[in-house]
């Protein structure tokens, strides 16, 4: 027990042994950005191959490895850890807690992540290649026909699942037990609310994913037949288990993004969030409904009509709470004294593009229509509108919004706005045409395609390269800010921002709220 007001340790051991929520949050954010670049470079290979019809650069087997790893790395390596990093940094500061409830476990849940992804990435160099069965790893592609490296993939999923579960337990324990006096549940910032609900989803469904890969492991190595008809199993069972995890998983990705946007839009509209209570209930409703809609990912497996109808109506029902959220964000802006700094631009970009992604989701939810859209590029366009323009845009917004608080330096506003506009334009050039080629019948996950899709695919590739390049600008802007940005010591970087995190000094000291604030 040393001096209570010590600063960070020096050198590498600071990062290896730290239990400080800000250090761990920073490591999560940098790690997820590294994974974003890795997953992005896989995407660049995919788009380069699809630039023109015919086999151009890579062989089909490698192409399949790229689509698989791109999905896995982006979902589990980039988006999820980035929001966990944000939660680590912001939740204690937002609820007036000195740190996370379980700081040592916090350290561990971060440090098992890099090995998990090292294992996953190392499969690229193994005999038989990396997993090539798509990020959804449907059996029997991922069991009977899988490359030998699938065992490494399974282990990697186990480890990163463990990391997610520990991270969520930490977040729930923090939010439930360490709020400042006077901060009731209904006074918590929206970001804390959305993360609390997300963490419950994670605790509920990450074990299901672990169960699915455990069954794969047993089928491959221990002679069971969960997914093999030879022993009385059924490959369709895999899809049910996977999507029972997978659908809540998409809300795990998007709910924290909702939280970020619910912080930023009021700040730059200089108005409190419209309909706070309904936002909380809508988030909870979305989380609840996410457990009863999984089979809309598998309309074509041959379900009874009653099943198709149930999953169709349940899915459409989700549009109601999601619509409540969108209307609340718009109402927050209504007659607000709005300004358009970079975080706000990304938040509005999120709002517009996420709504488009939501509408295409509604189109896909229509069971009879889905038979046409299923596994086409329309689906690819849909989920990139919600994953990239939803989750990644809101993450960019969050970085610009809180970066001055984190490092006490202001980023370059012109460069930030340039990053936004290049991202926005590049993203739309990349993904909007994919709706058209999808509706015209281009299937996803193919390295070559029919000639009539050539123009749109070239356009799509050009947009993807623009979007990819804009992330280099983002990296440069962030590094330049940390190294040589204009110093700022204003407690409130943004005059409309509300919340406890804006009451501490800038840059945020290593320890904050050692005596809890009083919330009225």
């Amino acid at each position: 027990m040393g001096d209570h007001h010590h600063g960070p340790a020096k050198g590498l051991s600071r990062w290896l042994f730290t239990t400080n929520h800000k250090d761990i949050g920073t490591m999560y954010l940098w790690f997820s950005f590294a994974m974003f670049i890795l997953g992005g470079s896989f995407a660049m290979i995919i788009r380069a191959e699809l630039f023109q019809p015919g086999m151009q650069l890579v062989d089909p087997a490698f192409f399949n490895q790229m689509t698989t790893l791109h999905g896995l790395v982006m979902v589990f390596g980039a988006i999820m850890p980035s929001f966990v990093g944000l939660a680590n940094w912001m939740i204690p500061m937002m609820i007036g807690a000195p740190d996370m409830a379980l700081p040592r476990m916090n350290n561990w849940s971060f440090w098992i992540l890099p090995p998990a992804f090292l294992i996953l990435a190392s499969t690229l160099f193994m005999e038989g290649g990396a997993p090539a069965f798509g990020w959804t790893f449907y059996a029997p592609l991922s069991t009977t026909y899988a490359p030998p490296s699938v065992t490494y993939f399974i282990f990697s999923i186990h480890v990163l699942g463990l990391s997610s579960i520990m991270g969520s337990i930490n977040i729930i324990a923090t939010v439930m037990n360490m709020r400042a006096p006077g901060m009731t549940y209904m006074k918590m910032p929206m970001f804390v609310w959305t993360w609390l609900i997300t963490a419950f989803l994670l605790v509920a469904v990450m074990p299901v994913l672990a169960g699915a890969v455990t069954m794969m492991l047993m089928d491959i190595h221990f002679g069971t037949s969960f997914f093999s008809a030879a022993g009385g199993g059924d490959p369709v069972l895999f899809q049910h288990i996977f999507w029972f995890f997978g659908h809540p998983e998409v809300y795990i990705i998007i709910l924290p993004a909702f939280g970020v946007v619910s912080q930023i839009i009021p700040a730059f509209s200089r108005k409190p969030l419209f309909g706070y209570d309904s936002m909380v209930y809508a988030t909870a409703a979305i989380a609840f409904l996410s457990f009863v809609v999984w089979a809309h990912h598998m309309y074509t497996v041959g379900m009874p009509v009653a099943g198709e109808l149930f999953f169709m109506y349940a899915t459409m029902l989700i549009a109601v709470p999601t619509g409540v959220k969108v209307f609340n964000w718009v109402s927050t802006m209504w007659r607000g004294a709005m300004t358009f700094e970079t975080p706000m631009l990304f938040a509005i970009g999120f709002l517009v593009l996420f709504t488009i992604g939501g509408f295409t989701g509604l189109m896909l939810s229509i069971a009879p229509a889905d038979f046409q859209y299923h596994d086409s590029y329309f689906v690819v366009a849909h989920f990139h509108y919600v994953m990239v323009a939803g989750a990644v845009f809101s993450m960019s917004a969050a970085v610009y919004y809180w970066l001055p608080k984190w490092c006490g330096r202001m980023y370059n506003e012109t460069m930030g706005k340039t990053h936004f506009w290049i991202s926005f334009i590049g993203f739309n050039i990349a993904f909007f045409p994919q709706h058209f080629v999808g509706l015209a019948g281009m299937p996803r996950r193919i390295p070559d395609y029919a000639l009539q899709f050539a123009d749109f695919n070239m356009l799509s590739s050009i947009g993807a390269f623009i979007y990819g390049a804009s992330q280099i600008l983002f990296l440069y802007n962030v590094v330049a800010t940390i190294v040589a940005g204009k110093p700022t010591s204003e407690e409130k970087t943004w005059d409309g921002a509300e919340g406890l995190e804006w009451t501490v000094a800038t840059p945020a000291p290593y320890h904050t709220f050692e005596t809890p604030p009083q919330v009225k």
Binding site: L102, T144, G211, A229
Partner: protein
């Protein structure tokens, strides 16, 4: 609310870890059996009953004729010659019918096979009763020998009126390694 520990943080952690472990178990002990039960109950996947049907005396419905088609497929690297003796039969609902499938093991060593049935349209599965079927048992066969594998079935009189043709498909799996390895199939 139930308190499991005096330390509120530990209390939360215990509850959450229990939830996570329970969800892991849920996949194995609830989802898998529930899926099988639902498929049986709803007749999804064209899964027919794995057990012999005991015929109920209800008489033969001479007014309807149902076409039964037989399909045989070998799974993956299964080397046996396997096929129905007749590819099509016309039967009356309620009547008992017999046919055989022919199998030959062309390899020198003895092997064990398992046939898995599937009925199409899936809605007909619940009305297609097998009173005797080679698919109920594992089928051992010595090297370079052939055998007739019997099938006896009844089409239920309650078969929906719009179904005129039923396709019964068998896929033959090589389970020699699984049985020799003394690993019980699920």
């Amino acid at each position: 609310m139930l308190r499991l520990n005096n330390n509120p943080v530990l209390d939360t952690v215990i509850k959450l870890v229990t939830t996570a472990v329970a969800m892991f178990a849920f996949v194995f002990v609830v989802m898998v059996p529930l899926y099988d039960v639902l498929c049986d109950a709803l007749g999804i996947n064209g899964k027919t009953s794995g057990e012999a049907y005991t015929a109920v005396q209800a008489g033969v419905d001479e007014s309807r004729t149902i076409t039964i088609q037989f399909v045989a497929t070998n799974n993956e690297s299964m080397p046996w010659e396997f096929g129905p003796s007749v590819t099509m039969m016309k039967v009356n609902p309620g009547a008992s019918n017999d046919t055989v499938f022919l199998a030959r093991n062309p390899l020198p060593q003895a092997m064990i096979a398992q046939a898995i049935p599937s009925v199409s349209p899936a809605r007909a599965a619940a009305y297609f009763h097998k009173t005797e079927c080679f698919c109920f048992n594992q089928q051992p066969l010595d090297g370079e020998t052939a055998t007739d594998m019997p099938l006896q079935f009844i089409v239920d009189r309650d078969l929906p009126q719009d179904i005129k043709t039923i396709t019964l498909s068998y896929t033959l799996f090589d389970i020699t390694d699984l049985v020799d390895g003394d690993v019980a199939a699920r």
